[in-house]
Amino acid sequence: MKDDFPGRAWCENGQRHLDTRGLPPPDPMVAILWHVERGLSPLIVHMDREPVHLYPELGERNWTWELADPTPGQVRLVLRARP
């Protein structure tokens, strides 16, 4: 996958959003890391579960993450490149 990513992305108030809800594993992780590797920080990700398998990969790439307003069945994750 060199020039494409699964899921849907858009910009809102100058911030990049990515929706990976409904994607089979490991597509959410792949879509997020596609954006991370292009330095698209901050990135707001809309998911249907907490991506525990993503955290080791974010750590390797020196990015931080925060869960924002979690509700059952939906997760919003804010990712930032560490300065």
Partner: protein, 441 residues
């Protein structure tokens, strides 16, 4: 906003994770049984080429590998990864922990009994091993029953567990027969036991788990499901024909078994290559060298078996093919998976505390993995050559190399566990140090 450890968060994947101690006890035990398997093969090297299935050191080495390393690792990986992949919780951690405390001593007793030809020990060990496998099967079945999102993986799991049920019953019968000698066709049932263990249980688990694990490791998109279903159909057909051939003694049935097996292996190979071609990870590293070698070992061994049935001279063919399937294919695959999964899981669990995980690269002892991979491949080559040439010194050399590699792998595995233990018991200020390096991955 809340940190990613998200205490009290409902429905998060973290809720589906078992405590890290549960999978790690399986993986660490597997790394110890791995050392024991090569050591016992070294001790019994002189018996390898004449091995025909009776009690002794070779039977012990085989089961140290199949139960102690392969099944043990599969259980740990299934308990940890299936709930996240299927999005269904495994439930309370104690049944998965209890399965270990029954299974691990069971494998030790069974293989000790096999090595010493002690029927009582074998009976006790097989009972405990089967009890542990039964707990594993029930927990996994319950999880797979609700795995609609990854139906093709669940399909492989169902078929593998069906094979496990028959395999375990046959294993207990074969052990009881060591004491009673009541089986009219022991060789046929032993052959069926081997077919179901290698291709039915472990082979189908490898094929099914690979559909999710390999894309996850390589960072590539999910694989198409239609070829996965075709591979499952071919694999199950192959196992069915091979089982019928082993049981009936009709050599003609091995040909459809081989054809279906080659088709299943070809589909698996194509899917794995597709995943690697689409990989975002630039350096796939040593784990993928092992995974690729394992896939080709499977194909090469099936073709070797076919050549043997066509009349090509393959000295000590049954022992050679068994060794290549168990050590060349399955053991190499599992070592590749474990070398990737251990630092990954440790980092994943560590991230729950602070949002600043232990880095996978800091957890990975590269020299240990290089030692393991080099010695493993050299050991496989030497033992296989020794079997063909009927040369015990070569088999001893290969087993020594394999043992050295297994010790390297155990050092890697215990280093990961030690680092995780230190991290979890460090004061928050000590573990909150941000990562400074961005390494290529």
């Amino acid at each position: 906003m809340m940190p990613a450890n998200g205490a009290g968060f409902l429905g998060g994947a973290r809720d589906r994770l078992l405590p890290v101690s549960v999978p790690f006890r399986y993986f660490l035990a597997a790394s110890l049984f791995h050392v024991a398997a090569w050591a016992v093969l070294l001790a019994g090297a002189a018996d390898l080429t004449g091995f025909a299935g009776g009690p002794g050191l070779i039977l012990a080495a085989v089961h140290l590998t199949t139960l102690g390393v392969l099944a043990m690792s599969a259980m740990g990986a299934a308990f940890q990864l299936l709930p996240v992949v299927t999005r269904r919780a495994m439930g309370a951690p104690w049944p998965a922990a209890a399965a270990f405390w029954v299974f691990a001593p069971g494998v030790a007793l069974l293989t000790w009994g096999m090595g010493r030809a002690a029927t009582g020990l074998m009976l006790a060990g097989s009972a405990l091993s089967i009890a542990g496998l039964a707990i594993f099967a029930l927990l996994t079945l319950r999880n797979l029953a609700r795995a609609g999102a990854v139906a093709v993986v669940a399909g492989h799991g169902w078929a593998a567990l069906a094979a496990l049920a028959v395999l375990a019953g046959l294993g207990a019968t074969l052990v009881a027969d060591f004491a009673g000698g009541f089986l009219p066709d022991r060789a046929g049932l032993a052959g069926l036991h081997a077919v179901l263990g290698i291709f039915g249980f472990m082979g189908l688990l490898v094929a099914g788990f690979s559909l999710v694990l390999i894309p996850m490791f390589a960072l590539s998109r999910s694989l198409p499901t239609a070829p996965g279903w075709a591979g499952l159909a071919a694999g199950v057909s192959g196992v069915g024909f091979a089982a019928a051939a082993a049981l009936s003694g009709m050599p003609a049935l091995w040909w459809p078994a081989l054809g279906a097996g080659l088709l299943a292996a070809g589909i698996h190979l194509a899917l794995m290559q597709l995943s690697e071609r689409r990989a975002m990870r630039r350096r796939l590293g040593l784990p993928f060298a092992l995974l690729r070698a394992a896939r080709w070992a499977l194909v090469a061994t099936l073709m070797l078996a076919g050549a043997g049935w066509l009349g090509a001279p393959v000295p000590n063919a049954p022992v050679l093919i068994g060794f290549l399937l168990i050590a060349g294919w399955l053991l190499t695959f599992l070592m590749g998976v474990l070398s990737r999964i251990l630092p990954f899981l440790a980092s994943m669990h560590a991230s729950g505390r602070t949002g600043l995980p232990l880095l996978m690269s800091d957890l990975t002892c590269e020299p240990c993995l290089r030692l393991h991979a080099g010695a493993h491949f050299a050991g496989l080559a030497a033992v296989a050559t020794g079997i063909v040439a009927d040369q015990t010194p070569l088999i001893r050399l290969g087993a020594t190399l394999g043992l050295a590699g297994a010790l390297g792998f155990a050092a890697f595995a215990f280093n990961v566990a030690l680092q995780l233990w230190k991290f979890r018991h460090a004061k928050p200020a000590q573990r909150g140090k941000p990562a400074q390096k961005g390494r290529p991955t």
